[in-house]
């Protein structure tokens, strides 16, 4: 196929609409807000470094807290990159094109902050290098380090390589007066000239990466689930854990993309490209993924709940009817049942309701990880006794909330800055799509539309 020719002037609608634009007042306020949250988190982390992990509410029994559940959330949300840019690509779904870059930047931001938050959780973060010098391969943590690093690299490439032609557009249209920005784009564009050979190279690259990233995506979340499933703890000791985590991750990631694309659509002039059709289709996908996740949830809770083994029963009772019941049922209902019901109806698949439901799913997904990590630790085989009363519970301290919020704000800031610097929808791929449609015979075009 001949390389696409992109007209770089205001007559080209794609160019006009999709080039990055300066932030308005709202955009600046948003960035300022994120920076404020990050600053508070940085202060909380300074306190944690100074006084030790004692500033958290983690103690000998609840030895993992919201840092770890937040880590699992980040890994989960990052799986969406592979869903949209690989699975939908390999299944030849054409409407995915405007969503690819959005989901890929979510993936990169998610996996980056997953890695950072795990360092925050360490008692001795300055010994992080021990993992590389003294690493032992039989530890699931090492598997996680390996697979997360690999996934990070592949996701970054999946973001960067298709971005090259668009960076070149930024470079070529940047006036010479803006020296630094011109330099920035020139450096990143890697001497892109848009030749036929270059296009065929990146198309090949994308194809290979898209295939590679699928097993890796399954890998990162399966290994993350093994951090729990390889222990003896009730609620974690489950052979269902790998697929259960992967299913939950795809569902959360899908909702995450919907939420981000709704916000971008309302603040950028891209309503033409991200249409109600996209919300309709993504909503259908979310229903499917929610159903799969529901299936695994039923497996995860019904089977041990049916038997009610002594060790399991205390943990399950805490979830079903005990102190964690309100949170547990809210998460199950708003995070799983609600999308399945609302999005079944055509009216429910309009942009706004889809957005609201997706937000519910994302928030539910965060608390779902909390429910996976913490209640189990509060129900060890030998019941907790003879320790201070506060050790029987886990209520995260302000430092934990601040650091966790900062990590979430950090991920959002990465996405925000990316949107400011690069076209959020791939200009050249949209151009290619347009040409493809133009080249189709008339008859097909009718059916294809």
């Amino acid at each position: 196929m001949e390389p696409v020719k992109i007209k770089l002037d205001q007559s080209n609608e794609l160019f006009r609409d999709l080039m990055p634009k300066k932030f308005g007042v709202q955009g600046r306020l948003w960035v300022a807000f994120l920076l404020l949250v990050i600053l508070i988190g940085a202060f909380a982390y300074y306190r944690q470094l100074k006084y030790g992990l004692v500033v958290t509410d983690m103690r000998d029994f609840t030895s993992w807290g919201i840092y770890i559940s937040n880590f699992v959330f980040f890994v989960a949300i990052s799986l969406v990159g592979s869903l949209v840019s690989a699975i939908l690509k390999l299944t030849n779904i054409a409407w995915r094109t405007p969503l690819v870059r959005i989901s890929e930047i979510i993936a990169v931001a998610g996996i980056t902050f997953a890695a950072l938050i795990i360092i925050v959780d360490m008692g001795r973060p300055e010994r992080f290098w021990h993992l590389f010098v003294y690493g032992r391969i039989q530890s699931p943590i090492l598997w996680d380090v390996i697979v997360i690093t690999t996934y990070f690299v592949i996701s970054l490439l999946l973001l960067y390589i298709p971005l090259l032609p668009d960076i070149a557009i930024c470079r070529d249209t940047m006036p010479d007066s803006l020296k630094w920005r011109k330099k920035f784009y020139t450096l990143l564009a890697l001497n892109w000239r848009g030749t036929k050979q270059q296009y065929s190279l990146i198309n090949k690259c994308i194809q290979i990466l898209a295939v590679l990233v699928i097993p890796l995506a399954l890998g990162i979340h399966t290994v993350t689930s093994w951090l729990f499933a390889t222990t003896y703890r009730t609620g974690w000791d489950s052979s269902n854990f790998g697929p259960y985590f992967v299913a939950g991750a795809f569902q959360a990631g899908c909702a995450g993309v919907i939420a981000v694309m709704y916000v971008l659509r309302n603040h950028y002039n891209i309503k033409k490209y991200i249409t109600p059709m996209h919300f309709n289709n993504m909503a259908k996908l979310l229903v499917l993924l929610s159903l799969i996740y529901l299936y695994f949830n039923i497996n995860e809770y019904l089977v041990p709940g049916y038997k009610m083994k002594t060790a399991d029963s205390e943990h399950l009772h805490a979830l079903f009817t005990g102190s964690y019941a309100p949170l547990f049922w809210s998460v199950q209902i708003f995070g799983m049942i609600l999308p399945i019901i609302v999005l079944l109806f055509r009216k429910g698949r309009k942009p706004l309701p889809v957005f609201i439901v997706s937000l519910c799913v994302v928030v539910g997904a965060w608390f779902k990880r909390f429910l996976i990590v913490i209640p189990t630790l509060l129900h060890p085989f030998i019941p907790i006794q003879g320790v201070p009363e506060s050790w029987h519970h886990y209520i995260p301290t302000w430092e934990e909330w601040a650091i966790t919020s900062a990590s979430l704000a950090g991920a959002l800031l990465v996405i925000t800055i990316f949107v400011r610097l690069f076209p959020v929808i791939s200009i050249w791929e949209m151009e290619e799509e347009k040409e493809k449609i133009n080249q189709l015979p008339k008859q097909t075009q009718v059916y294809g539309a």
Binding site: F61, G123, R124, Y232
Partner: protein
């Protein structure tokens, strides 16, 4: 007493030295631990293996492993020739708590903190509750060692599961992997040693060196074991609940009596807690049958 005659040379010698072999009442290791009475120049009467009464200088008997050897001892190797093992007799425990306070003292821990927990257990609704002290079980198939990403916790040749607090990154995976909740974490700087105290700690006990942000736990007090002494928790227990010894020698002692490990486990139906997990603990329990004390609830824990 025929158990002692069959035990290894070191134990036999020690037994003979102090004449217990004849008297047959005092424990071997108990006496060994009382070596502070002996000074050079003293003579001790003892019964030689062939039945003669002889007199020797006290410095010749019970030669201690020099401190030098211990301090240069490799943290990752363990005491040569030993295979430490513990037996806890649940029928004798009344939650006196002396093991805990002795442990805290020995390891320079704050008073409310110890590596031993004493848990109220009840096996069935109609069964009577009992107290179960739990130190680290020093499993032969340790889940904590398996999951450690940096080899900061490891199995020694003497059976001990040790920790290198200079290696530990504080990920706490070992804590969630341990099904017995044996591990504790240095959440803050409070437990850090003052330099003056650190001087007193022998190197081999670096296993519990209280570094902030790292994991620690019961270490079976290997420097005591190396000198054929009993750990402080064993010595401190007023009811003789803990037996400690060497599996290679097949001998354990609670300070009052020294018995053969295999015989004790056979006679009193010894078992290991949650055997079905396959972790192969080095701590055995004797069931809480024929209790010496009626069960009494503990005082509420101080907040």
């Amino acid at each position: 007493m025929e158990q002692e005659n069959n035990s290894r040379r070191k134990f036999l010698k020690a037994g003979v030295i102090t004449g217990i072999a004849a008297a047959g009442s005092l424990g071997v290791i108990e006496v060994l631990s009382q070596d502070e009475h002996k000074k050079k120049g003293d003579t001790v009467k003892l019964l030689s293996p062939d039945g003669k009464l002889i007199e020797v200088d006290s410095s010749q008997i019970n030669p201690e492993m020099p401190e030098m050897v211990l301090s240069q001892h490799n943290l990752r190797e363990g005491v040569p020739g030993k295979k430490f093992v513990m037996v806890i007799d649940l029928s004798k425990c009344k939650n006196a708590g002396k093991c805990k306070s002795a442990c805290s003292k020995m390891h320079y821990l704050p008073e409310d903190r110890s590596y031993i927990k004493i848990n109220k257990m009840q096996d069935a609704e109609k069964a009577a509750p009992y107290w179960m002290p739990t130190p680290c079980f020093h499993c032969d198939n340790p889940p904590c060692v398996k999951v450690c990403p940096v080899d900061a916790t490891f199995k020694l040749t003497d059976g001990i599961v040790a920790i290198d607090n200079d290696r530990c990154i504080g990920c706490r995976f070992c804590m969630v992997a341990c099904p017995y909740s044996a591990r504790v974490f240095n959440w803050d700087t409070e437990f850090q040693l003052k330099p003056a105290e650190a001087k007193d700690i022998m190197h081999h006990e670096a296993c519990s060196s209280h570094k902030t942000g790292t994991v620690e736990k019961c270490d079976f007090c290997p420097s005591h074991g190396a000198k054929n002494e009993l750990p402080d928790c064993v010595k401190a227990c007023p009811n003789g609940v803990f037996y400690f010894g060497d599996e290679n020698e097949d001998v354990v002692s609670n300070g009052d009596e020294t018995v053969r490990l295999s015989q004790l486990l056979k006679d009193k139906a010894g078992y290991r807690y949650m055997e079905d997990l396959g972790t192969k603990p080095r701590v055995y329990y004797l069931p809480a049958a024929n209790r010496q004390f009626p069960f009494k609830e503990a005082e509420p824990a101080t907040p």
